[in-house]
Amino acid sequence: VTVRPAAPFAGLSPDWPPAATRPVFAAATLRFIEMIPHRIGKIEGLVEDINAKQGSPAKLAEIADVAHQLAGTAATLGMPRIGTLSENVEKRIKDGLRASQSPQSVLARVGPTIETLLDRLEDAYID
């Protein structure tokens, strides 16, 4: 499937960012959208590794890092749902790592939220 690049503000809430600020955010939004396939691929690869028992806490921490970046920018760019999901993923992974839980058990708990996040990212890209 060939996915066409999204228009700069497709899929965003209609009233955000305010019209006057849209030129300010245009380049950042484009870059955010362009990076979505890479970020989806990265998260999926790490999840596969962890599920195949090749995972280490470091790989789980890498998922948290990607989620951290998404959480920092998505809400600013008018994608609050992606921002909230990313923040949940980051927090739950970090909590699990702090509690010294195995990567597989952390993933089992946070997996559904990661899936929803990946779905929302796909929507933002395809729209």
Binding site: V24, A28, D65, G72, T73, A75, T76, E87
Partner: protein
């Protein structure tokens, strides 16, 4: 003004840069790691006027970078604005202790960002004015203008020293509970006006450094931040609710300053003398701005009652 922005997320760098351009700034460099920042400033080829630093970055994080920048003589006073997620506000304490000037949160609120950057610009302009005063002093000697007596200044060569307005920002970041566990005390240099009248800007700052060092020695078993608020007033923020024996501290500081007696005598100056005010704590039900603690502590440290400007604000 020249900015360096550092974040491991290129999208957020785009957002920051776009906002700065929207405020009319054009000299903006964006880099993806703390290491790149240190490489850029390390060669000394460029003078940076403000750093915008993401706190959470791999390898060297924003707090470590802040500390490293403050260790470079040319960047001891350069504004460093930390960028952090709302959920990471716990790191802000460490950032201020490492020398940060201010912070903004992600998601970025454009109005808040604009006001923070405007504040940085004012600080930058004020610093330029001070630097110009020092330069004029060296060129014109006694005919050069002086620092305003009432103006805050950064105490030179003290590790825990922060700008007064950075200390105010820090207090504003603390929640009620954290503020409840802390205290503030002010130390008034009663003959500061004499030094201000007799010294050029550079020498006056050096005297502030001598007094600051003596205060530092007297409080070194505590965790604290120190700032010079202007008009001879030093303010100390203690991150613990502690009873300080102010009489003993006052003796200790004045005793330490007496060691400079010969040096001051050579310049026909008296030895600086200080009065330590009582520590001020915030009650859990106290209302009003947290920065009111600073004003109150300064007021209580005055040997002859609060200065008119402070008294006016306290009664307001």
């Amino acid at each position: 003004m020249r900015f360096i922005c550092v974040d491991d997320d290129p999208v957020f760098l785009d957002i920051i840069a776009a906002n700065l351009r929207g405020q009319g700034f054009s000299r903006i460099e964006c880099v993806g790691s703390a290491r790149e920042v240190l490489d850029l400033v390390g060669d000394g080829a460029r003078q940076v006027d403000c750093f915008l630093v993401d706190i959470q970055m791999p390898e060297i994080d924003g707090i470590q970078l802040c500390r490293a920048l403050r260790a470079i003589p040319g960047y001891r006073q350069t504004p460093i604005v930390m960028v952090t997620k709302m959920s990471e506000k716990g790191y802000v304490d460490q950032a201020f202790a490492a020398g940060a000037t201010d912070y903004v949160t992600k998601p970025l609120d454009q109005l808040e960002f604009r006001s923070r950057i405007n504040m940085v610009k004012r600080l930058h302009d004020e610093r330029k004015r001070t630097a110009s005063l020092r330069e004029q002093q060296s060129r014109f000697g006694d005919d050069a203008p002086k620092l305003d007596f009432a103006s805050p200044a950064l105490i030179p060569a003290i590790d825990n020293a922060v700008e007064y307005f950075a200390l105010e920002n820090y207090l504003l970041t603390l929640g009620k509970v954290r503020l409840f566990g802390s205290s503030v005390l002010a130390i008034n240099m009663s003959n500061a006006q004499v030094f201000h009248g007799s010294c050029d800007a550079g020498a006056f700052l050096d005297v502030l450094g001598d007094v600051g060092q003596s205060i530092f020695e007297g409080l070194k078993i505590h965790q604290f931040l120190i700032s010079y608020a202007g008009s001879g007033n030093f303010v100390i923020f203690l991150s613990e609710r502690t009873e300080i024996d102010t009489e003993s501290l006052e003796c200790q500081i004045n005793g330490a300053l007496m060691q400079f007696e010969t040096t001051f005598a050579m310049d026909r100056l008296p030895v600086p003398q200080v009065t330590v005010g009582p520590s001020v704590s915030c009650g859990i039900f106290t209302t009003g701005r947290p920065t009111k603690m600073l004003e109150r502590s300064i007021s209580l440290a005055q040997p002859n009652g609060p200065p008119a400007r402070i008294a006016g604000r306290l009664s307001a």
